[in-house]
């Protein structure tokens, strides 16, 4: 059967499943819409959280990022999972006990201030919209490759599908759709990895395969990879070649950013009890780790497979001829994400590090690396083709990549719509709004957010990875410290918290824009984005952790010199700290 037809069957049937679930679990009340009626089983919620959390960045980009750098990009693995320990221990149980629907709800009530609520709403909207653009772009890339349409058409298909189930279903629909999406994406990710691990090491578990013996050379896989990379003039895979200080800061930023992302936090409002919020965070982490422990194996094995493809007779032998390129290279060259150039006109593809040319390149007078472009994002999607796996595996991975992008987009849209309808309209503008009116407002704001994200993704202002970094930096520096102080400090007052959020948010935005350009518009940056120009050598990507520290410091200084917290707020904090009575919480 034609590959296109296979892709169509896999993608089409998975979508039919999601939309069917969305219709089956339609939301009838605001409680259904925002919090799935608070009746979600903690394990189901864990899987839904995992799908909600694992975006196009986790599914499509992460293994490629690890493959490109090796050890140095372990930051993504530790950072994006370590945040769940913070969530489970420091945030989720208390926010569930608090018993409302949204993050701004908590901040507004705990800090008894509409200004605090408004600052929280603004932070949430900025970070969620920037994040959702990335998801839409990711979905568009996957559609255009696998359905063989142009990326604009791919984007419109993605918007239509997200619109259908997010708007109709609300949180209840999303929860069960995300459960289905988790199953699709984890199967899609694991199957090719198992096959590849078997091919290279004979071990069916990729997690163990990574540290096993490479069948062909008889020595450990990672040692083989290190050796071939170094022979081609690259850094070894397992060594540390960057700044340890930045690695620590970047990991920390990703961790607290994860814990501060509103679309993840709201998932813990959907379980029946406080104890279930703890359980649910544990299961979410298990389901996430199923993919995250496979990713480093996928990265290392794919890197080795690419080198073997380009040097079929070993790195000292003759490289691959242009005429013998496998189909996957031709397919991906069409997308513009992979490019070769015969610089010395010998008809062979020389692949090596031209910045640090190996002896062989000097001896033979090669004229530069001839794989001139390899976009890391294609690695996971192309992986089954690189390893010569059957067509149905390729169809499966297409469905998985789309599931990852769409589930996260839906979760983000839900966080956006709740912030607008619940926190902005119901809590601040029109408290008398009916439940029906609130639901309608939520759906309209969701439709509006989809339209905005689609439009921004049509005209991308030249950013993808940067926006995700900004979303994490914003979450880390604004919402996370405010929530944490709200729970762990009885004395933190409104003036302190508001100042903290503004200082954290402001400093992070300023630092990122200084190096990456105002609103990421190229050419408007005030300093070149190179390590020599960074303040104390801190990369803009790692600044979220610093922003969070500034938030805490500013909040405590201002708290000391402003009016103390009212007694009833101290009582509120005490009640959040004990699980008993969460069932009585009301949807105000």
């Amino acid at each position: 059967m034609d590959q296109f037809v296979i892709n169509l069957i896999f993608v089409g049937s998975s979508f039919a499943l999601y939309i069917g679930i969305a219709i089956w679990a339609r939301a009838g009340s605001t409680s259904d819409f925002y919090a799935a009626g608070r009746g979600v089983n903690p394990i189901v919620n864990g899987a839904a959280t995992a799908a909600d959390w694992m975006s196009a960045a986790s599914f499509i980009s992460m293994a490629g990022l690890i493959a490109a750098v090796g050890y140095g990009n372990s930051t993504f693995l530790m950072g994006w999972t370590g945040g769940y320990v913070i969530l489970a221990l420091l945030l989720a149980p208390y926010l569930r006990k608090f018993g409302r629907f949204t993050v701004p709800d908590f901040i507004g009530d705990r800090f008894y201030s509409q200004t605090a609520r408004l600052v929280a709403v603004i932070s949430l909207l900025v970070m969620s919209i920037t994040y959702v653009i990335g998801q839409m772009t990711g979905a568009a890339v996957a559609f255009s490759r696998f359905l063989e349409v142009d990326s604009t058409t791919g984007l419109f298909i993605a918007s239509a599908v997200v619109f259908a189930y997010a708007v109709l279903g609300g949180m209840k629909g999303i929860t069960y759709t995300q459960l289905a999406q988790y199953v699709v994406l984890i199967i899609a990710y694991t199957i090719p990895a198992v096959f590849i691990s078997l091919q290279l090491t004979g071990n069916p578990l990729p997690q163990l395969g990574l540290f096993s013996t490479h069948t062909e050379t008889g020595q450990p896989l990672l040692q083989t990879l290190n050796e071939v990379l170094m022979e081609l003039g690259f850094n070894d895979y397992t060594g540390n070649h960057g700044s340890t200080f930045n690695m620590v800061l970047f990991t920390l930023s990703l961790m607290i950013g994860t814990a501060g992302l509103p679309h993840v936090i709201i998932r813990f409002f959907t379980v029946p009890k406080v104890a279930d919020a703890r359980t649910s965070a544990g299961w979410a982490l298990v389901f996430i780790a199923l993919l995250y422990t496979v990713a480093p194996a996928v990265g290392a094995m794919a890197r080795l497979n690419i080198i073997t493809t380009l040097y079929p007779e070993g790195v000292q032998g003759e490289p691959l001829a242009f005429d013998n390129k496998p189909d996957w290279m031709l397919n991906w060259e069409n997308t513009g994400l992979l490019r070769f150039e015969d610089k010395n006109g010998d008809g062979l593809i020389q692949y090596y590090n031209e910045a640090n040319p190996p002896q062989r390149a000097i001896d033979e007078g090669w004229e530069g690396n001839e794989m001139v472009l390899f976009n890391n994002d294609i690695l996971v999607l192309a992986n089954p083709e690189i390893a010569n796996l059957p067509g149905w595996v390729i169809g499966l991975i297409a469905a998985g990549g789309l599931a990852a992008a769409l589930s996260t987009a839906a979760g983000l849209l839900l966080a956006i719509s709740s912030a607008v309808s619940h926190d902005l309209i119901k809590s601040m503008i029109n408290p008398g709004i009916s439940e029906k009116g609130e639901l309608l407002a939520a759906r309209i704001s969701m439709a509006f957010a989809i339209a905005l994200a689609t439009w921004l993704a049509l005209n991308p202002p030249g950013f993808a990875a940067q926006t995700v970094a900004l979303a994490f930096g914003l979450a880390a520096s604004s919402l996370f410290p405010a929530i944490m102080m709200g729970i762990f400090s009885k004395k933190m007052n409104s003036t302190g918290a508001i100042t903290g959020m503004i200082v954290g948010l402001g400093s992070t935005v300023l630092y990122i824009f200084t190096y990456l350009g105002w609103f990421f518009i190229p050419g408007t940056n005030m300093l070149p984005n190179t390590p020599e120009n960074w303040l104390f050598g801190i990369s803009p990507l790692s600044f979220g952790a610093v922003g969070a520290a500034l938030n805490f410091i500013a909040a405590f200084i201002v708290m000391k010199i402003s009016a103390p917290v009212p007694v009833e707020i101290e009582e509120l904090v005490e009640s959040i700290r004990v699980p008993k009575g969460a069932g009585d919480a009301v949807a105000h």
Partner: protein, 84 residues
């Protein structure tokens, strides 16, 4: 529940959180990054133990921590009679 036992419950909670967070930092920032040179002598599958912690070990520890905390807190909730 009296204020005194609320305080004791919260203190026990903060203590276990602190212990868990110390382990959390030790396996990730510690073994995975800063203390990796100390583990360089322990080989594992073509590399060293620090690499394993950075790419797998810290995640497995995180899971263990969250489930341990859950188990401990459920016990504590019952002890202090604050369970739901």
């Amino acid at each position: 529940m009296s204020d005194k036992s609320t305080d004791a419950y919260w203190k026990a909670n903060v203590r276990i959180i602190t212990i868990c967070m110390v382990i959390w930092a030790l396996v990730s920032f510690g073994f995975g990054i800063v203390l990796r040179p100390l583990l360089a002598g322990i080989p594992i599958g073509g590399t060293d133990l620090g690499f394993w912690f950075a790419q797998q070990g810290s995640m497995l520890t995180f899971i263990a921590l969250v489930f341990y905390y859950r188990w401990y807190m459920n016990k504590l909730d019952l002890e202090f009679g604050v369970e739901e």
